[in-house]
């Protein structure tokens, strides 16, 4: 029913269905949520996924092993290096390959740089979700300095195609390591304190995030959501420690946790993880051994591994990222199944935990839980 001014007149008991999205509704990527609300509280919600389905899993079955290294980073825009790493680990697990020590270190450095840029990016996105655009712009700038480093190492800014089966594409020079260390100092001394002042000490941010989008540790475990969601609810769980890969068993770092399980707790965990990442990168660069950075696997167009399957998983910035890979001994993978970090939250979580949230907090809910549609649409 329309009133004179063209607005919708609503009885206070009426439920209204809203199509939220699919045009980047406060989440990275095209994804929709269809929800009913009463007053300004969501009463029922269901995910409207599939807008970003590109058929990656099918494409991978039709390409040789090495070609897929250029395909996997595209699966999730936020986590390109993570995808490269899981894919390489799956290949190595089925083929029972042991990667050189220096490659392990370089992989960890790359993954931590990726974690830093991803966290800065997503904190910016979270801030934009509550109207704090300064943080987003500053975050984008800070991220660009990390992308400069990536460009120097790999030639690419966002998609690197650098970690590949058997190691990494090429070595990193000491000069680049110096640059990384300088950037870490800059982050620690200037850029992250700026972030603290503009965002974490901002009363607006605290008001919006405290008590919003609460997920308890029990709920998170039951649904399979890990990462900051679980750590923000008080469980000190990190695959880098629980199932160590690359060089993470050689470095010393802590798992930051918070008790309240709300958006604020998760974002504080993310902020503390950035400090830990800087600590990890410094240790890795300090201790990195000399030696080769990749195995000689022969002609790249004829990569082959025996029959077998493996479920491999690593800690992305938003939790467990897993690949189930099956090889039938041929030149192409028989099946690759991608399990993105936000699969449980983006699909099941929306129906179960979004109701009860206020309408204005829906972007806060989606952002702070790290929903990334391209990874479950695939």
């Amino acid at each position: 029913m329309m009133n004179m001014n063209g607005g919708i007149m609503m009885d206070k008991n009426t439920q209204t269905e809203i199509f939220f999205g699919p045009n980047h509704p406060g989440v990275p990527g095209n994804y929709g949520i269809i929800y009913d609300f009463e007053g300004d509280t969501v009463t029922e919600a269901k995910p409207n996924a599939g807008h970003l389905h590109r058929g990656f899993e099918k494409l991978m079955e039709e390409r040789i092993w090495i070609k897929n290294t250029a395909l996997v980073p595209r699966i999730c825009v936020e986590e390109p290096d993570i995808n490269e790493m899981v894919y390489a680990m799956g290949y190595e697990a089925i083929g029972e390959l042991e990667v050189p020590e220096r490659a392990h270190y370089i992989r960890s450095i790359i993954l931590e740089l990726a974690r830093l840029q991803g966290h800065i990016f997503s904190i910016g996105g979270n801030a934009a979700g509550i109207g704090q655009y300064t943080v987003m712009h500053w975050g984008t700038l800070t991220r660009d300095y990390i992308l400069d480093i990536f460009e120097e190492i790999t030639g690419g800014r966002v998609y690197h195609i650098y970690i590949r089966p058997g190691g990494v594409r090429q070595d990193i020079s000491d000069k680049t390591f110096e640059k990384i260390l300088d950037l870490m100092d800059d982050l620690e001394e200037n850029r992250l304190p700026d972030l603290d002042k503009t965002l974490y000490e901002n009363p607006n941010a605290q008001k919006r995030w405290k008590g919003t989008a609460v997920i308890t540790a029990e709920e998170a475990m039951e649904m399979g959501a890990t990462g900051p969601v679980l750590r923000g609810a008080g469980k000190a769980y990190d695959l880098r420690k629980m199932m160590p890969y690359a060089a993470y068993d050689k470095v010393d770092f802590e798992i930051p946790t918070r008790e309240s399980g709300d958006a604020w707790a998760r974002l504080k965990v993310v902020r503390e993880e950035m400090t830990q990442s800087i600590k990890i990168i410094r240790q890795l660069i300090n201790d990195i051994p000399d030696g080769p950075v990749k195995l000689d696997l022969g002609n790249a167009l004829k990569y082959k591994i025996p029959e077998g399957d493996a479920y491999v998983k690593i800690e992305s910035k938003r939790g467990e990222y897993g690949y189930y890979m099956v090889s039938d001994g041929s030149l192409k993978p028989y099946r690759v199944h991608v399990r993105g970090a936000s699969n449980p939250l983006g699909l099941y979580g929306v129906t179960e935990y979004l109701p009860g949230t206020r309408v204005a907090d829906v972007p806060v809910w989606a952002k702070s839980l790290g929903i990334c549609p391209p990874e479950f649409d695939r």
Binding site: H53, M221, G224, T226, D309, Y311, K313, Y334, R339, P344
Partner: protein, 165 residues
Amino acid sequence: MRNEKEVIELIEKNLSPLETEEKRAQNISVKFGPEDTIQALSFLKSKGYKQLSTISCVDWIDDNEFELVYHLYSYDDFINISVKTRIDREKAKFVTLKEVWPVAEFYERDIHDFFGVEFEGNDDLEELILENWNDIPPMRKDFDTRKFVNDEYEWRDYDGQKHTD
């Protein structure tokens, strides 16, 4: 906290697996007959394997079977178990895991989209990722992407250049 051997022992003592295998550190794979799978999964859940990471489906077209793989994880043992079962490809039907893990509902919908497997007890198997799909499920091995594209779409010529396949 149990190690890999103890977990395998626990499984062999309480359940009737067809095959158990320690794949590598912190990774175990277990095969069950389709009739034992759901019970085995709820048993493992009661023993601390609380996390269902995902459900994978593999089309073994030469054996005329689908393989369903349930990836479980324990926050106490830090071990990953891949529970596998095979079902007939012609009568692609299995039982839902929704009662044990509510989150399975969406993983089953995903498999229904891409492989056409029905899950008994899961009433909401409408399309999740695909939309208005009326061909054979696309992740099946006999679905030919190239043929589909040629049948459904017309090739366009750009700048007078003819398309060649």
